[in-house]
Point group: C2
Chain length 240, copies 2
């Protein structure tokens, strides 16, 4: 059974079919989720008055629904009760690939493009729940430790939701792919790996004396990988 | 003189004006370039038949022109000789900001959104030059060391160019911004820094014996930051 025929795969249409280097593409939910859940930052594409925008924003996933903080699109969405087509993309750069020809230079990466209809979250209960979820998805159990959300804060927050209708993952994770006859050339070739790492937490200088960092934040160890921490956070969030 | 009135600033219109948290925005070329030049990966937004796409791709900057490898948009652009509106965005995640309320949680980041008209690079000379530039911009002087580009490779390559008409940079680079009355709460707050780092180069296992890594690749030291390496590469490229 290939990914495309799995019942757990997204339908493949003209919109999400991987055209260039299609052998790098897959359409099953597990592949798409693994890329989404390793990220905090996405880019959402909208069209406003014919102009496309790629807006970077924090996002999270709950089942097959993606949530993000809206701003540029919120004014537009307020007038579009039926929602508007959007594309939410995540890309991780994993390595620089230096080949023996310019043409075969590349990058190792993991990317996921998700298509659907973006809608404004207007129901007050769904919005409050989303405002707690965005904390707990990244920082397990943290929302319960915080000063509660006020009505004014909920009003000032714009949250956008999109159910994934179609999606595609695209991954390159390998060494140099030179033309067969080029391997004999006396040219250095290789892969320079790239990793997004966590540093030492900088405690707020106004912290009340004696307050310790909660144990749940140990999923963000110094020198750890951001994507591992985020995948762990998502697993805890889904299990909770 | 503020950035907005500098002669070296982009015009500010409804398209690029930073609406939400506008105090984080700036419009001068130096701020925008510093964010673009620290990156290799961008997201380009296009509209194809009413559907927006946020496509991740490698890109580079030459003066006020951005270049990238096109694929999804190339078929569309072949029919649109006058070009099509696009938005090229770069975002760097620099830190996770944990506050004492959910509302004040945030991220440190640097982002740049550039607007213009995307066009297909069809002139053979401009295309060959761009194919050399994409190598030399990232790996100083490397194109001269490689097996030359073939006519067939040039034909198989799609390059898209866009002159920046308008752009905006948006940056958050600070500690926790809690409400004044929340600082007294016994809740841990702080910033977890995030950095994209370079690993040890994995030499191609089919390398011809005795071939050394060129000295020019020393801008990518093990444990160095990717963005520093890319900024250095751009400086060398612009000086060359």
């Amino acid at each position: 059974m290939t990914a495309e025929t799995s019942t757990h795969a997204y339908p493949v249409t003209a919109r999400n079919r991987v055209k260039r280097l299609h052998e790098r593409g897959s359409y099953d939910r597990d592949s798409v989720y693994a890329i989404l859940d390793a990220a905090m930052l996405c880019h959402v594409a909208y069209v406003i008055d014919g102009q496309p925008y790629a807006t970077p924003t924090l996002f999270w996933r709950k089942g097959d629904t993606l949530y993000w903080h809206g701003s540029s699109a919120s004014r537009m969405l307020r007038h579009l009760k039926a929602g508007t087509p959007a594309c939410l993309t995540v890309a991780h750069l994993d390595g620089l690939v230096l080949a023996r020809s310019g043409f075969n230079h590349s990058a190792n990466y993991r990317s996921a493009m998700c298509f659907g209809t973006a809608r404004l979250v207007e129901d007050p209960e769904e919005k409050i729940e989303a405002m707690r979820d965005v904390i707990d998805r990244f920082y397990p159990g943290r929302s319960a430790l915080l000063r509660p959300i006020t009505t004014q804060e909920a009003k000032a927050t714009t949250i956008i939701a999109m159910q994934i209708e179609e999606a595609a993952a695209k991954v390159r994770a390998k060494g140099v792919g030179d033309d067969e006859e080029d391997f004999a050339l006396p040219i250095w070739a290789g892969v320079i790996p790239v990793t997004t790492m966590l540093g030492t937490a900088e405690t707020c200088h106004r912290l009340v004396e004696g307050v310790e960092k909660p144990e749940t934040l140990s999923i963000f160890p110094v020198g750890g990988k951001l994507d591992t921490a985020l995948l762990t956070g998502q697993r805890i969030y889904e299990g909770g």
